[in-house]
């Protein structure tokens, strides 16, 4: 599995790059929106883990772009935002442990969610 982890905290990126690479496979990290888009253009990812506060590009635009690419998105939110978030995408709220994140990733990369992501891509193309 190839994972793209995007968050504005370098320590967080460093720690999870190591953990996710060890547990899932290749993991690339992005510090801001443009960097994330550059990485997306260069490779095919199976999952994106995206912090809501990623700077320089609006979060909604990034999510729409990921969905159009057929890439499932796991959002990192604070708990207030998670309560208000619609159920159209999956989320995990800060602070989380590595095991909690990995459990969410496993859930997302099951067949069910892959299908949902493909359907979402089809809907976006038709629009």
């Amino acid at each position: 599995m190839k994972i793209l982890f995007a968050a504005p905290d370098r320590d967080l990126l460093r720690a999870y790059k190591e953990i996710l690479t060890e547990d899932f496979g290749e993991t690339q990290t992005a510090f801001d929106g443009p960097q994330m888009l550059t990485l997306l253009a260069e490779g095919n990812y199976d999952l994106a883990v995206l912090d809501k506060g990623l700077p320089r590009i609006e979060n909604k635009l990034l999510i729409d772009h990921l969905k159009s690419e057929g890439i499932p998105v796991l959002s990192l939110l604070d708990c207030r935002e998670k309560k208000e978030a619609k159920d159209s995408f999956n989320a995990i709220c800060y602070p989380f442990t590595p095991s909690e994140l990995e459990e969410s990733i496993k859930l997302m990369t099951s067949n069910t969610y892959s299908t949902l992501a493909s359907e979402s891509k089809a809907v976006t193309e038709n629009e």
Partner: protein, 463 residues
Amino acid sequence: MNKAKNKLIRYAVIVVFILLTVLVGVINIINFTMAANDADTITLALANQNGSFEGNMQGGFGNMPQDMQDPFSNMPGDMQSPENMQGPGQMGPGSMNPDAMNQSFITLTQGNDQRPQGGNYYFDGQQGRRGQMGPMGPSSPEMTESIRYFTYAFDKSGNAFKVAYQISAVSENDAAEWAKSLLSGSTGWTRGTYRYRVYTKDNLTFVTVIDQGRELLPSYRILIISVVGEIVSIAILYLFLLRAGKKLFEPLEAADRKQKQFIEGMEQKFQVPMTVINADVELLERKGGVSDQTSSIRRQVKTMSGLLAHLSGFALFESEETKVKADLSRIVTEAVENKPAAYKEKNIEVDVQIASGIEMEANAEDLKAMTEELLLNGSKYAKSFLKLSLSKTGERIKLQFENDTDLEDGEYDQVFDRFTCLSNAEEGSLGLGLSNVKEIVQKYRGRAKAFVKDSVFTVQIDL
């Protein structure tokens, strides 16, 4: 904040309304009671004169029974002439013996005491003393001239005899019928502004009715003015409080806003660092194995995470929310289905009795948080079983959690206090979970209590 402000305004208006109503009520009750007493004085005077003042005008109350005072008949002959009246404040020319004048105005209630009482002023021709106001009310000698009344006497057969008819608003026939209709009473008001008295003399039953319309008019005016004044006062108070309340609460609102912003900011600032600490501890343990240090770091981070989760509960004022019907049965059922893994890990038997269709007006997130907190609490402290029941009796909803425990029997309401932990509390426990439960319960005007009986710890929520 608006809720607190509106509550203050509402309570202030209610308190002032109650006070003003009591004041206005007391004033008007006293006023009308005094009017009734004055009217009774007159009807009694008539009763004592066999129902008629006619022929008794000269010299005041005129011929009265022997046991009643008759001041005018005791006056010197020259006193009975108006031309002989003198002194400051008096109406006519001439001179008058002041001492005799002092006997002129006597109320029927005085007995043998000829001096005016009860606040009635009297003319005093003595030099150096002020003569202020004339006599007022039923004791005035003018009363016999001005009172409008009628009196009928009835024999045992019910035949009516006119005793006196000094009234214009009622015909003689109507007066007789009216008097007859009052025979069963004793005294009181009739037809709004008329006062009556029934008395017997010489085997005849007399009914005297006097017109007090003119005397009652000021009382009614006072009633209307006082009620209107009260309404206007309340309205002015309400408008004033609306305006003043805004200024009064501005600093509090600002403080509340700042506190909420601070708490939100703190939450955000802590969340990512704690996530990083969790991740780095994981990496340390993967490389060097679990150690006391890494375990300690994990525990401390868990404690801090728990504290962060409760930070929003420390707001000064509750946030404005729109309450909708929440399906409590569904919320509790789902919470049980997603109960903490500890129940399975510790082999705790969970017995659930949830009545279906129980709804209440509340924020569903509050109810979910409350139920999850109680389930979490149960998972920590239950030894072998947890019994959960949700039921509704009438309008009261009862949610109850019971688990076995080592605690001694007794009341344990202190568990709902912030930062309070019992002797069996888990290490690192903050003592905030059940306090949050109580805050949610109180938000919806419910009650929460905790007790142990026969080694069963029970948390009972009434909503």
